[in-house]
Amino acid sequence: MHKLRHAPGDPEEALRSRLESVAGPGPVYVLGLGYADKADDGAGVLLAETLRKPFPEFSFSEHDGVEGTVLDISEREGAATVFFVDAAELGEAPGTVLVVPGDMIDDREITTHRVAVALMAAILERTGKKSAVICIQPGTIRFRAEVSGPVSSAVETLSRVLTRIMRERN
């Protein structure tokens, strides 16, 4: 676990270090989850859309289909890491970022509307890929509201950090 907001020293460097520590070798993929019409709930999608411009082959969002994207990545040769990015209620200040490694994901609930991230992580693991969830504490998830300042700032930070990592690895 790692909380960006409460990290000692340079939080951006601490986040980069944390993401590098949970990633395996090979390229990094980003898969943004969430509902973009509900303000901060769409933080993952917002980040993925931001990263899609420089990394069109490596950044995807819920709109591309979660299961299909994961299956495609799992069938690619070699090691890789997938960072799922989603808004999550952490009980922290809005914009707080928490990194949860794939083997610690406890989201096993599958419904008709979504397939569990834990299942996606397990499928990736079977093909030699690593995964982790980057959780962002939302400030508001009100329908059609603007993304809040702290979450917008967290997305910008994550975008900078992941851009550096993906430039080096991908």
């Binding site: 709109h63 591309d64 289909g65 299961e67 299909g68 994961v70 299956l71 096993r108 609930e109 599958i110 419904t111 008709t112 509307h113 397939v115 569990a116 834990a118 299942l119 397990a122 499928i123 079977r126």
Partner: protein, 430 residues
């Protein structure tokens, strides 16, 4: 008095639970409690233009989004006296095939199957059934792809419009779907093989005189829309008369309305479609239907899973011809309304059963909207079936946990979509 509670029913859409109230060893009541809050969609669309309504109402559900879109469009086209072009009709058939593959593969393989194989979830199944779990996801992905190609997006696509399509799928995309459907037919057949190999618990067999309702698809084909409704007792009725046959009412323990036919519960869904239209199937789906369909399908809702599996094969086999026919036609213009005032009912088969959208338009605006979802129609039957099964299991001395699992399996077999069901409540202020 004792209660057996399943506070949160897992592996279904939405927030619901089951409460079994026992008086000694006697089951006093079994309720499927719907906790999802009301969304009042029918009130929300009042005063809207028809073209806005058909964009808003699919937001009821993100999985049967195209069923809601299609039912709304069908209702509106009737109200506006529009006959859609043939290419639009065929493209709508194609998009419904995609939704059926997507939803049925998810429900059968990832939501229902773990119970039968003794796993708490599909995640736990992965070690022993890696290929099957991945197969389910591939089928779901393919269904999503067809939905995206036809409607414009995986969820809440906006290409289907009143009078036609904003944009039709390209010949290249259709050819790819056709090719892929041939490749994936064995995957669809494997789903049937898996469910046909399961021992379906006999505790869920209940003799009753309940009926099964489905649409009567055009041209005596097996499909997912129609203007007439078939009842398994041999009767039928025009979809416009849906109110007489569904008899909606409110109950105190649930935010969803309930339905009865002739004061008896009834079932809609894949099981009902097979009972009413299964003989119309052809190809491999027909062979599988003949091989596996029997009288237990009338008694035991757990066969709804096998019915959904056979439908995946039917949908997969239907794709090549559907793609060819759409590809062979030029893109027609969108048909325009010839009136502004009128009423119409659209009936389609969502994966979970018959979905009605009824509209009354006045001077080009929505005056009345009425939406009856399949889960709302099934809820009474789910409760009755669970009550009878709970009585039997308790009389046989089954432990509480066994009863809980048995009831959960029954509820899940109906593939309930609780979010869909909850928009139907009427709030009364005294």
């Amino acid at each position: 008095m004792k209660e057996l509670n399943i506070p949160a029913l897992a592996r279904v859409e939405g927030d619901g639970g089951i409460t079994v109230t026992l008086d000694g060893k006697k089951v006093k009541s079994v309720t499927l409690d719907v906790h999802e809050g009301p969304r009042l969609i029918e009130q929300l669309v009042k005063g809207m233009k028809p073209e806005d309504d058909v964009n808003v109402v699919p937001r009821i559900c993100a999985i049967c989004t195209l069923s809601h879109k299609f039912a709304a469009i069908r209702g509106m086209e009737k109200a506006l006296a529009i006959t859609p072009p043939e290419k639009a009709v065929l493209t709508r058939e194609l998009m419904m095939l995609g939704e059926n593959i997507e939803s049925n593969s998810l429900h059968t393989m990832l939501l229902a199957l773990p119970d039968f194989l003794g796993y708490p979830s599909a995640v736990a199944m992965l070690n022993d059934y890696t290929d099957d779990v991945k197969r389910a996801l591939k089928l779901k992905k393919f269904g999503n792809h067809i939905m995206e190609v036809t409607s414009g997006r995986i969820v809440h696509g906006e290409n289907p419009v009143i009078g036609g399509f904003g944009k039709y799928p390209s010949k290249k995309a259709l050819e790819e779907i056709k090719t892929k459907s041939h490749e994936m037919l064995p995957d669809a057949a494997r789903v049937v093989e898996l469910f046909a190999s399961l021992e379906i618990p006999t505790y869920a067999d209940v003799e009753s005189d309940k009926v099964f309702m489905s649409v009567d698809a055009p041209k005596k084909k097996f499909h997912l829309y129609g203007d007439e409704i078939l009842i398994s007792n041999g009767k039928d009725f025009p979809a416009d008369d849906y109110k007489k046959y569904t008899n909606e009412r409110i109950v105190t323990h649930s935010f969803a309305k309930r339905s009865k036919y002739n004061d008896k519960t009834f079932m809609v869904g894949a099981n009902a479609r097979m009972i009413n239209m299964g003989k119309r199937l052809d190809g491999r789906a027909a062979d599988l239907f003949k091989e596996h369909f029997d009288k237990r399908w009338f008694r035991n809702p757990l066969f709804n899973n096998l019915a959904q599996a056979i439908e995946i094969v039917w949908a997969m086999e239907s794709l090549p011809e559907a793609c060819d026919r759409v590809a062979s036609m030029d893109d027609p213009p969108i048909e325009q309304p010839s009136r502004k005032t009128g009423s119409g009912t659209g009936a389609v088969e969502a994966p979970r059963g018959v979905l009605y959208h009824h509209y009354e338009l006045k001077d080009g605006l929505v005056d009345v909207a009425d939406i009856i979802t399949p889960t709302a129609q099934n809820l009474d039957d789910i409760e009755l079936h669970m009550k009878l099964v709970a009585e039997r299991m308790l009389a046989e001395g089954k432990k509480d946990d066994e009863v809980r699992l048995g009831l959960e399996m029954i509820a899940r077999a109906y593939d309930p979509c609780i979010s869909c069901a909850t928009h139907l409540v009427t709030l009364k202020r005294l």
